[in-house]
Symmetry: C2
Subunit: 348 residues, 2 copies
C-alpha cells in the first residue's frame, strides 16, 4: 500500500518532468534562505570516451537525469531529503545499467549479494544492510533498519527476515541477473584461470563491469537536513561473503547536517581502510578544509597512496556540491542550489 502510492507518485512526477527539458529547473521558492541541492553517482571507473556506444551513453545519461530530477523535485516541493535520496537510488537500482539492484554484478559462484546504507545528518541515525540476495531495493531495507530496528547494520538471511517483517519487497534472485554481468563474470573468471594471473580478478576493469558501478545520492533539503545513501552489488567475482565499503557508515556513506553528506564508489577495501566518507567530514570539521579541498585530498592523495581508486559525491551545509574521482570517469548528475542541472560521465 505504501509502495503503490509511491509508484503513483513516481508516475505523476515523471509526467511533470517530461515536459521540463531545459537545463535549469525553475524554483518557485527562491525567497527561502536555506539552499537545497542533490547529487547522484552511478559508479566511478575506467570509462574512456568512445568506449561506449552512443546509445549506451545516452541510456546512462537519461537514467541519471531522470533520477536526479525526481529526487530534486521532492526537495524543491519542500519534501524530505530522505525521500529524495531513496527515490533517486531506487531509480538507479531498478535500472539494469548500474551495479545495484537489477543489474548488480555476480559473485564468484554466480549469485548476487547486495549491500546498501543510508545516514540522516540530523541525529546521525543510520541503517545498513550487507549480503542480501532477494531484496529488490536494498536502500529501502537500509532505511527500514534505521527506522524500525534498534540496530544499524543487519546482514544476510537475518536481514531478509527483517525485510519480510517490514514489508520490504522481495524478489526471486533471478530478477537481478543481466546478460552483461554474466559475461563480465565469465571474462574475469577466464582471466583468473590463466597461468600466472591468479589475481587477475583484482585488476580487470572493463567498462565498469568489474568493481565499480555502485550508486549513491546525497541531498540537502529546505529544512537543512542532509541525507546520504549508497547501494551496490559489490565487485564482480567477489567471494566468501565479502562486504565492501557501501554498507559501512564512515567508509561508503556519511552525513551530518553540521558538516556534509558523502556517498562513495570505488575499490571498497581502500575506502574502508581510509574511512573515506568520514575522513572528508573530519577534515572539514577539525581542519577547516572546504568540502572541495577535503574531497580532493582524500580522493586524489589518500586513497591512491594506499593503492586504491574511485570517487565520491558530496554536499555541504551551504549546499555546495562536489563530484571528485581519480578514475577516467564517474557516472554522475546534480542539481545545484541555483537549480543548475549537470549530467556527466567523463573527466571534463
Amino acid at each position: 500500500m505504501q509502495k503503490s502510492s509511491l509508484y503513483l507518485f513516481i508516475i505523476l512526477l515523471v509526467s511533470s518532468i517530461t515536459s521540463c527539458n531545459q537545463s535549469s529547473v525553475s524554483n518557485e521558492e527562491e525567497s527561502t534562505t536555506q539552499p537545497f541541492a542533490i547529487v547522484i553517482h552511478g559508479g566511478a571507473g575506467a570509462m574512456k570516451q568512445g568506449m561506449m556506444s552512443d546509445s549506451l551513453e545516452t541510456a546512462y545519461k537519461t537514467t541519471l537525469e531522470e533520477a536526479v530530477r525526481m529526487g530534486y523535485q521532492i526537495i524543491a516541493d519542500g519534501g524530505d531529503a530522505i525521500d529524495a535520496v531513496t527515490l533517486a537510488i531506487n531509480i538507479l537500482e531498478n535500472s539494469p545499467l548500474f551495479n545495484a539492484g537489477k543489474g548488480a554484478v555476480l559473485t564468484h559462484d554466480g549469485s548476487h549479494e547486495l549491500d546498501a546504507s543510508i545516514m540522516v545528518g540530523t541525529d546521525r541515525n543510520a541503517g545498513a544492510v550487507a549480503g542480501v540476495t532477494k531484496v529488490k531495493n536494498p536502500i529501502l531495507l537500509a532505511k527500514a533498519i534505521m527506522e524500525n530496528s534498534p540496530h544499524v547494520m543487519l546482514s544476510g538471511k537475518g536481514a531478509e527476515e527483517f525485510a519480510l517483517e517490514n514489508e520490504i519487497e522481495l524478489v526471486h534472485p533471478s530478477y537481478f541477473i543481466t546478460e552483461r554481468r554474466k559475461k563480465a563474470l565469465e571474462k574475469v573468471q577466464q582471466k583468473e584461470m590463466a597461468p600466472n594471473n591468479s589475481s587477475a580478478f583484482m585488476k580487470d576493469n572493463d567498462l565498469n563491469d568489474y568493481k565499480f558501478g555502485t550508486v549513491g545520492c546525497v541531498a540537502l533539503d529546505k529544512k537543512g537536513v542532509i541525507v546520504a545513501g549508497t547501494s551496490t552489488g559489490g565487485m564482480t567475482n567477489k567471494r566468501w561473503n565479502r562486504i565492501g565499503d557501501s554498507p559501512i557508515i564512515g567508509a561508503g556513506t556519511y552525513a551530518d547536517n553540521a558538516i556534509c553528506g558523502i556517498s562513495a564508489t570505488g575499490w571498497g577495501e581502500y575506502f574502508i581502510r581510509s574511512v573515506a566518507a568520514y575522513d572528508i567530514a573530519a577534515r572539514i570539521k577539525y581542519a577547516n578544509q572546504t568540502l572541495e579541498q577535503a574531497s580532493r585530498e582524500v580522493i586524489q592523495n589518500e586513497i591512491p597512496s594506499l593503492g586504491g581508486d574511485g570517487g565520491i559525491i558530496g554536499i555541504d551545509k551551504e549546499g555546495d556540491i562536489v563530484m571528485e574521482f581519480n578514475t577516467d570517469g564517474m557516472f554522475r548528475a546534480s542539481i545545484d542550489k541555483n537549480g543548475e542541472v549537470s549530467v556527466a560521465i567523463y573527466k571534463e
Copy 2:
C-alpha cells in the same frame, strides 16, 4: 603445526611469567628510544563494586593480567605488535569470562555470531569478519583475511569457507556455550515478553552480560608499529544477523602508526554512527588534540550525546595509553612504556 608451536610458546611464556609477580616488568632494552606498550580491554559496562563475588573478580583480573603480560612479553622481546595483539586477544577469547570466542553471548535464537577486526598502522591494512559461528578465534580469521585475501571484510558462511581454506581452527558451535550466557538470554527474553516492555532487550545490562564484554587490544612495538584488534560475540538477544561496531574499521578498531591505535567496546550502534575509533584519530591528526583529550571528547561527550555508552582503549605513537569509559566499569589492563602494570575493573 603453526598452532602447536604457538601453544608451546604460550606454555613457555606462562612458566616464565609465573615467576614474575611484581607490578613492574623489567626491561632489558632500556637503551631503545622507541617506546613500546600494550593495553587490553574485556568490555565496559554496569559493573559496580560489590556486584561480583571476590572469586569472580579475581578470575577476571587474573585473566586480564595473563593476557596483557603475554602480549607485552612479545613486544619486549622485540616481536611484532600484531603477534602481541592476537595472542592477548586469543587468551581473552579462550576464557569463558568474556563476550568473545568461548563465552560469547547468545543471539535471539540461542546461537552465536562472532565478529572481529584487526588493523596494522604501518600501511593501514585491515581484516574483519562478521557473523561466524564456528571459528574458535575470530581475531585469527580477521588476521588471515587481512594477510591472505584481497578483501578487508568477510562474513557468515563465506568467511568460514575462507577460514577452512586458511587452516583457521573451527569448532562445533556448542564449544562457545556457557551456562551464564544461556541464563542471560533467558532473562532478557523474559523481560522482552513482559507487557509494555517490548524493547527491554535494549535496556538490560545486568553484569555486563547483555551488550558488553567485547575484548580488544592495542600494542605499540619497538619498531613503532601500532596494531589494534577487537573481538566480540555482540549483544545478547541480537537478531537478524546484526553486525555491531567491532568488525567495522573506523568504528570499533583503527590504527595508524603516525597517530594512534584504538579498540572500542560498548553499545555498537552508537560507535558506528559516531565512527568512534577513527574520530579519535582524526581529532589528533587534524585538531591537534592529545589521545587523552580526543578519547575523553568522544567517550564522555560525543557517544553520550547520541544516547550511547561504552569505552575505548588506545595507544599513541609516543606510547601513551588511554583507557576511557563512561560506564561504571571497564575490564582493562595495561603495561605502559615504563613497564608499569595496571589491572582494573571499576572507576578509580
